[in-house]
Symmetry: C2
Subunit: 429 residues, 2 copies
């Protein structure tokens, strides 16, 4: 009888070990079109003031406020995009459009709706508080020259990208996206759209993990299936190390005869842990492998590559991905919040506990009043992807005997947007 | 003096009008690699049972339960991926790995850790409840043949894509992604990385809206800047109609001399509304334009294209995008929850109300105990993108005089993941 030689580590310790091994990738200057959801690696300061000139806030008439309500002679027009070169002398006004620069001499803009234009003369309505600065967006009123407009660590959404564009920037320094190589292992795995041979199953882990990498913000790289043939594991792993920042495998980590992966990881690098006290996902293994050149020598210039050897069962591999690989990818991307967000939810029914391991139970959360209620997705067999399909949370159940009754509160790790379970359609004010 | 001829519609009515004009796009069979976050257009049924054969749940020994704890002769091994063709007669056992098919004659699998193997014989430990079915995943126990495994309308995340892959499918019928053409309008707009001329500003709306389209799941198409030159608006709009499912413009919809867009929309199609009672974003206009062939004739085979003419101010264009265009994109994609999710939040400080319009105030939400607290991002000038940068919500303030005190609750539309404002790192059980 063989026992695994790896001590069981807690989920918390395992995550801490992983995050110590992974650092944000170096910055790369990236076109704004490719920078959505990326993380700024450096502060950004405004090279110039915004707006770069005093500008009309409204469509109307640029004039001198000291002239009061008296009618003025219209002497020209100033549209956006150029300087018409008109001087607004006392008793005159210039037609102006929103965003256009204020002509010399004018100190206010009266809205088109708040003035009467008759026979080439324009008279502001009284009682609109005509004063210097009315209807004018002063130079630098949105952003001052040199002001820090975005900080390192900020995630670039539409507004932030627009902010960068408004400064005239076409690219931004963001942390590089990690290339995450995804393998499956096993002779039983068949390719899609092919008939199954006896004892074969379709490989679902690669498509699952490929999508999970993309969802986490990494660049997934499909490295195929590693068959149980002599030398194939070594060869494909070495090829993966050469091209990927992180490697993810599934299968080949439990105690079968053909589980060659762990011994290889020990020979080639450092196995940080080889078992985790959790259900599902106990055989989850994390190692760091140095990058080697063609002659087998370690390349000292390149940092060791983290490798996540996930269990082969579909649910186990997805749960361990979300708990351990996703944080590593997000840390590489420069995100400050690396792990899954956590909320408290009320149990919608009784849950049986496992006396041997803490369990991450797939649940659907629904909003009920001001709280969330967690309902199981059904049988939690680790082969049963249906239990993960439609789940938006992982309910964290403690290791204990017995059952938890409906109504008690427990933490839930969020896998998906929980708000969309509402109708999300109303925006009545 | 001119008044806009368009009646003011409420935000709610405007959204209802838009959603009546937009239907989910037709299904297209899409490779799983490209189907992340897409919406299933049809139910998916399992073509075969899962697993397709009774399989070992663990690494161990396949044997006959009726033999009890007595030692058995080891007669071979059955790995995953093929049928070894061994018959397990009484008194014999077969070494087996997880996922491998159960050999004929065996009705249980004993874990490797729960048996003693000596001299080619294996004896199960007593008290492990050896019985028919132990350690076996029966045929069809995860999914039965013909079972509906995914329903039309489900969003394809990693687990759902894995489910499809486990059925042997390489592609899925999902609603097509709308191509969303994005224009800016205005002579004052400069391209990035070029020095600004007098009166010019950089175009921030196209990068902002481009990213917002991508974030909403659409395929953004950059259609450039429409200059204030005769014929250019007509020419570029016609070109956009030919290639895009939806069009989004910004600028050219308020009351300036050069605001030619609304009259053109009236000539070419139906303007559904031209003003919305909201701040910012009042000039927001929504129309539907028929697609025309080169000779100007309406193409009756192609549905009219929705066009969103957003205000030119950066914040106004982004807020109206999120309130009106995002739901249209999500409806096209087949999402059931089209609009922004809405929660209630407590005001973190006093907010001044606008007596003339309901306001969507950019806020940052932070978690405090079980509730969310909304804090303004500062000056809400509609030119000031800094007020949208870092905002994760739009606080919906009613049209009224006076101020709302800190502590009262108001609805907030969510722009971004609010959970990430927590540290999101803990997953202690």
């Amino acid at each position: 009888m063989r026992e695994s030689s790896y001590p069981l580590v807690t989920v918390e310790d395992a995550l801490a070990v992983i995050l110590r091994q992974v650092a944000p990738l170096p910055p790369e200057l990236t076109l704004l079109h490719d920078a959505l959801n990326r993380v700024l690696a450096e502060d950004v300061h405004a090279p110039a003031a915004q707006p770069p000139f005093p500008a009309a806030l409204v469509d109307g008439f640029a004039l001198r406020s000291a002239d009061g309500d008296a009618p003025r002679r219209l002497i020209g027009e100033q549209m956006a995009g150029y300087m018409a070169g008109i001087e607004v002398a006392p008793g005159t006004a210039v037609r102006i459009t929103t965003g256009a620069p204020i002509p010399s001499g004018a100190d206010a803009v009266v809205k088109v709706e708040q003035a009467d234009e008759v026979d080439g003369r324009v008279a502001p309505h009284p009682d609109q508080g005509l004063r210097p600065g009315l209807g004018i967006r002063p130079l630098g009123s949105d952003v001052q020259a040199g002001e820090r407009v975005l900080a390192a660590g900020q995630v670039l959404g539409p507004a932030e990208l627009g902010m960068l564009a408004s400064l005239g920037l076409a690219a931004a320094p963001v942390h590089a996206r990690p290339v995450v190589g995804v393998f499956s292992t096993g002779d039983e795995l068949a390719q899609p759209d092919q008939p199954l041979g006896p004892g074969q199953i379709y490989d679902s882990n690669r498509p699952t993990l490929w999508a999970a990498v993309a969802q986490a913000g990494g660049q997934p790289l499909d490295l195929g299936i590693i068959r149980d043939r002599p030398g194939e594991l070594e060869q494909k792993l070495a090829a993966g190390l050469a091209v990927a920042d992180l490697l993810v495998t599934s299968g080949g980590v439990s105690m079968g005869e053909l589980d060659l992966l762990k011994p290889l990881l020990e020979r080639w690098g450092v196995v940080h842990f080889g078992r985790v006290l959790m259900k599902p996902g106990k055989p989850m293994t994390f190692a760091a492998l140095p990058v080697r050149s063609a002659d087998g020598a370690i390349d000292p210039a390149r940092p060791a590559r983290p490798i996540f050897a996930l269990p082969g069962n579909p649910v186990s591999s997805l749960v361990t991905f979300q708990l351990f690989v996703r944080p590593a990818i997000r840390r590489s991307l420069g995100h400050q919040a690396a792990g899954l967000p956590q909320i408290n939810a009320v149990l919608g029914h009784e849950f049986r506990l496992d006396p041997e391991r803490p369990e991450f139970h797939r649940v659907t959360l629904r909003r009920e009043g001001g709280r969330f209620v967690a309902v199981s997705t059904g049988s939690q067999a680790s082969s049963r992807l249906l239990s993960a399909s439609g789940a938006n949370g992982l309910l964290a159940l403690e290791q204990a005997a017995g059952v938890l009754p409906a109504g008690v509160e427990r933490p839930v790790l969020l896998l998906d947007d929980v708000w969309l379970s509402g109708d999300g359609k109303s925006c009545k004010v």
